[in-house]
């Protein structure tokens, strides 16, 4: 229900761009097009219809995945996006795995061994991780691994293999190599965030009575920490992580432009430069759709993890 409202609102915002941001006709035609031709084109594209009719048409098409033709390239937007989507999704996926796989264990470690030298080092480093802007870390990585050491490629996806309509970089050596720098760049911020969140939650849980009672029952630390404490830690962590994964996809833009990664973000940046409104609108709607879907998955996960929520609806 809420998701439908969110999607509707985003659709409305995306659509209003058509009306209020620049005049599309100006961007489609050359300077020497006569006024007569411009009016004809306007009529043919339905730009003179009332607002509601236009919006209705837009939403109906959007639901079917049709966002019209790109003003600049004269190809369906849906095709362009479908072509770019695998790149972004693969990048976001790898970054998500990285930030979870490293962030959670580090968070647990720093919570359990709060006073060790290593935890303090990790915490200090993470502060740097949180405060550095993405483009800077990206450029630093390129400088170090790409230019100085010449170990890793600094732009593009490398060789890709087509699996049906999905082009993947996972199956070639150069594709995997190209993934490393951008995914680290993208993951760094999320990683430190997840780590700090897990640490804070874990410290909170370790203070609770049931942890103390578990210790008083003589359970070994390993069981107390990982079976009882960690599982309880994850309940709130899931929410934040879910939201963050959405933003990984959405904010891959910066990383993609730094690494010239041929994903949706780069497409979007170019579209802004060209005032290619159909692409911008489609991108907005799609990102909103991802957010809504991820939130739904988070809710379902919640349900699976926490028995208290299940009981309420029995």
């Amino acid at each position: 229900m809420q998701s439908v409202i969110v999607m509707f609102t985003v659709g409305l915002i995306a659509f209003s761009m058509f009306r209020f941001v620049g005049d599309p006709i100006n961007n489609m035609v050359g300077q020497d097009t006569s006024e007569q031709e411009r009016i004809e084109l306007r009529e043919r594209l339905g730009l003179n219809d009332p607002f509601l009719v236009q919006f209705g048409r837009f939403s109906l098409n959007a639901v079917q995945g049709d966002f019209g033709l790109s003003y600049k390239y004269r190809v369906p937007v849906s095709e362009m996006i479908a072509e770019r989507m695998p790149a972004t999704l693969e990048l976001a996926f790898v970054a998500a795995i990285l930030s979870l796989a490293i962030g959670i264990p580090l968070g647990v470690y720093t919570a359990l061994k709060r006073h060790s030298f290593l935890s303090k080092l990790i915490m200090t480093t993470s502060l740097i991780g949180v405060s550095l802007p993405t483009f800077l870390t990206g450029i630093m990585l390129i400088l170090f691994f790409g230019v100085v050491l010449r170990w890793l490629p600094t732009f593009g996806r490398g060789d890709v293999i087509e699996l049906g309509s999905w082009s993947t970089g996972f199956l070639t050596a150069s594709g995997l190599k190209s993934l490393i720098l951008p995914s680290i760049t993208l993951a760094l911020f999320q990683l430190t965030l997840i780590m700090r969140l897990v640490r804070a939650e874990m410290l909170e849980v370790l203070r609770t009575d049931f942890v103390k009672f578990a210790k008083a029952r003589g359970l070994p630390n390993r069981l107390v920490n990982f079976k009882h404490a960690l599982k309880n830690t994850l309940v709130p962590v899931i929410t934040i992580t879910g939201l963050q994964l959405g933003s990984l996809i959405a904010f891959a833009i910066i990383t993609e432009s730094v690494f010239q990664w041929p994903g949706m973000g780069l497409l979007f940046i170019q579209a802004i430069a060209d005032v290619d409104i159909p692409i911008m609108a489609a991108y907005l709607v799609l990102i909103a759709f991802f957010f809504v879907m991820i939130n739904m998955i988070v809710d379902i996960l919640y349900y699976a993890v926490d028995p208290r929520l299940r009981a309420d609806n029995e």
């Binding site: 009672f213 578990a214 359970l219």
Partner: protein
């Protein structure tokens, strides 16, 4: 031979400002089948002893001296791994709050089987059988089915039974119970205590029970040790300590326990407990600020009259009205409060006592029924401004002194706020004079005004709440469990203060409590509530000597017996 022998135990908490010695050279012994009570007020170091024995002192606390023997074997200098093997296996532990003692994400079975497997290595099948058997022993019906449930599906009392089952599951030799019934209602407390007593006898387990509640001590213990500021001040059989204490601290502690058998004019204040500024001079109401402006509209008959009050809470939200589920927290309740009387409401948690208080104060809107303040039906008062007239005459004191005061305001502003709001003083200077006067009046002293609430103890904060309530010169005071978060000696002080104020100002009071002895000390008439319904209303004396409703009789019979408590130095009111 002693089962548990604690010798010369010393516990210290080093901190930046120097070391705090929490426990100073304490000696205790527990024999098989015996229940030893450790009693004392908060900060006396009781819980620290329990934690030290099982090796779970919270850092930076450390055992700086003394020895602990379990069956003659020295256990305090074992490695942490060996201590862990003793925990649960040989020493079981029960904590205060059953609502938070269990892992909310695991079933009872997972937690029981895990512990049994760890200590007894019976194999999965046998462990499950044992788990079911344990639940049956602690009195949980249908254990085969209930064992699959999660902790939140049990009530507080049931959860404490599960906790006891967990503590017992490896047949420990000693059980340490830290305030095991403090979070529970009287009737459930009685059941749990009886269960613990029985298990102790049957299995010849030694039990160390840590509590601040004299009722629990009287009910279950064989011997008592009294702690005061880290020292063991007195130890002896329960009869001896409660009936004929030697040490002045014990005497003062016992005199401060509210009792159900006699009504006192005032709680005796022995110097040993925190110095109270005894206000021997009663106020001259005719000249004092509190006495002025009391020309309320004359009211004939009862001051407060509640008629068929119903309050409904929605328990399950739904879009359609017919799908919603709700229950009546207050179910057609009617009673009157006469002018100048203290009316008590007593009942167990969830009986709707606090809801009634909030309905009268106008914090909730009732589903139906009416609340008359004199002639006016408060539920029909339309505008906020009209309501303010009544709010000024009606003030409330809440249970939790920690959350009912705004931590970012100075005490001066907290107490001054109602005076300013109702424009009871003409100038700022006058407001300040009144506030300092009020603070002195409740025994805090004028220096309190510039400080913040967190600088005060629980009892002092409750005094601030009382000063704030008095600041509007009310004629009607609602006290919702005003002392249940406080230690007995502080409780005695606060109850004394309320009694004095009531006497001086002729206040009418609604006094809500779950504690029958407190009710007996404070109230003229009492209403007994059960599940939202008022089951009996009677004069206090009559209710305690000759209860009519069966529920009242039950409540009274469950009350811990304190008959043999020392009567030394009490100021008994002739009835």
């Amino acid at each position: 031979m002693e089962l548990l022998d604690i010798k010369n135990l010393q516990i210290e908490f080093p901190s930046r400002r120097g070391t705090v010695v929490a426990v100073k050279g304490v000696n205790l012994t527990v024999r098989p089948g015996e229940v030893l009570g450790v009693v004392g007020e908060s900060g006396a170091g009781k819980s620290t002893i329990g934690n030290a024995v099982i090796g779970l002192l919270d850092p930076p606390g450390e055992m700086s001296g003394g020895e602990v023997f379990l069956k003659g074997e020295k256990i305090n200098d074992l490695s942490s791994e060996e201590k862990r093997k003793i925990r649960g296996r040989r020493i079981g532990m029960i904590f205060q709050d059953p609502l938070t003692s269990l892992d909310p994400l695991q079933t009872i079975e997972q937690q029981l089987v895990e512990t049994i497997e760890l200590h007894l290595r019976l194999g999965k099948k046998k462990s499950q059988e044992r788990a079911v058997d344990l639940l049956r022993q602690v009195g949980i019906d249908d254990p085969e089915i209930r064992i699959k449930n999660y902790p939140h599906q049990f009530s507080g009392g049931m959860r404490q039974r599960v906790v006891i089952a967990l503590a017992l599951c490896a047949e420990p030799e000693v059980i340490i119970a830290d305030e095991p019934t403090t979070a529970l209602d009287v009737s459930i407390q009685a059941q749990i205590l009886e269960l613990m007593r029985k298990l102790c006898r049957e299995k010849q387990v030694g039990m160390l029970i840590i509590t601040h509640d004299m009722g629990v001590i009287a009910d279950i213990t064989d011997r008592v040790a009294v702690m005061y500021q880290g020292n063991l001040v007195e130890e002896g059989t329960t009869q001896k300590i409660l009936g004929d204490p030697d040490h002045p601290y014990t005497k003062s502690l016992i005199s401060a326990v509210p009792r159900a058998d006699v009504r006192l004019r005032r709680f005796p204040m022995v110097d040993y407990i925190e110095k109270e500024e005894d206000r021997k001079v009663l106020l001259d109401i005719s000249t004092h600020w509190l006495g002025q402006g009391r020309d309320f509209g004359k009211i004939e008959g009862p001051l407060i009259s509640v008629k068929d009050l119903v309050m409904t809470f929605v328990t399950k939200q739904a879009f359609l009205k017919k799908n919603r589920q709700s229950f009546n927290a207050v179910d057609s309740v009617s009673f009157d409060i006469k002018q100048g009387e203290v009316f008590g409401i007593v009942g167990e948690s969830g009986s709707g006592k606090s809801t009634i208080a909030r309905l009268i104060a106008g914090l909730y809107k009732p589903a139906s029924g009416s609340v008359f303040f004199g002639e006016t039906d408060l539920t029909k008062v339309g505008s906020e401004r009209e309501m303010d007239v009544f709010r000024k005459q009606m003030q409330m004191i809440f249970q939790d002194p920690f959350s009912s005061l705004n931590g970012r305001m100075r005490v001066m502003d907290i107490v001054a706020e109602p005076i300013r709001f109702h424009k009871l003083a003409s100038s700022n200077r006058e407001v300040e004079t009144i506030v300092t006067d009020l603070l002195e009046h409740v025994g805090l002293g004028r220096q309190a005004a510039v400080r913040f609430p967190h600088e005060f103890s629980g009892g002092q904060r409750q005094r601030i709440s009382i000063a704030r309530a008095l600041a509007t010169r009310p004629r009607f005071l609602i006290c919702d469990e005003p002392t249940s978060a406080l230690d007995v000696s502080i409780q005695a002080q606060i109850l004394n203060l309320l009694k004095d104020l009531q006497e001086e100002l002729g206040l009418t009071m609604l006094f809500i409590s779950h504690d029958l002895p407190v009710i007996r000390q404070m109230c003229d008439r009492v209403g007994v509530m059960k599940k939202g319904k008022l089951v009996e209303v009677a004069e206090t004396e009559a209710l305690f000597t000759d209860p009519q409703a069966s529920y009242t009789q039950e409540l009274l019979s469950l009350m811990p017996k304190l008959d043999f408590l020392s009567h030394e130095g009490l100021d008994v009111e002739a009835s």
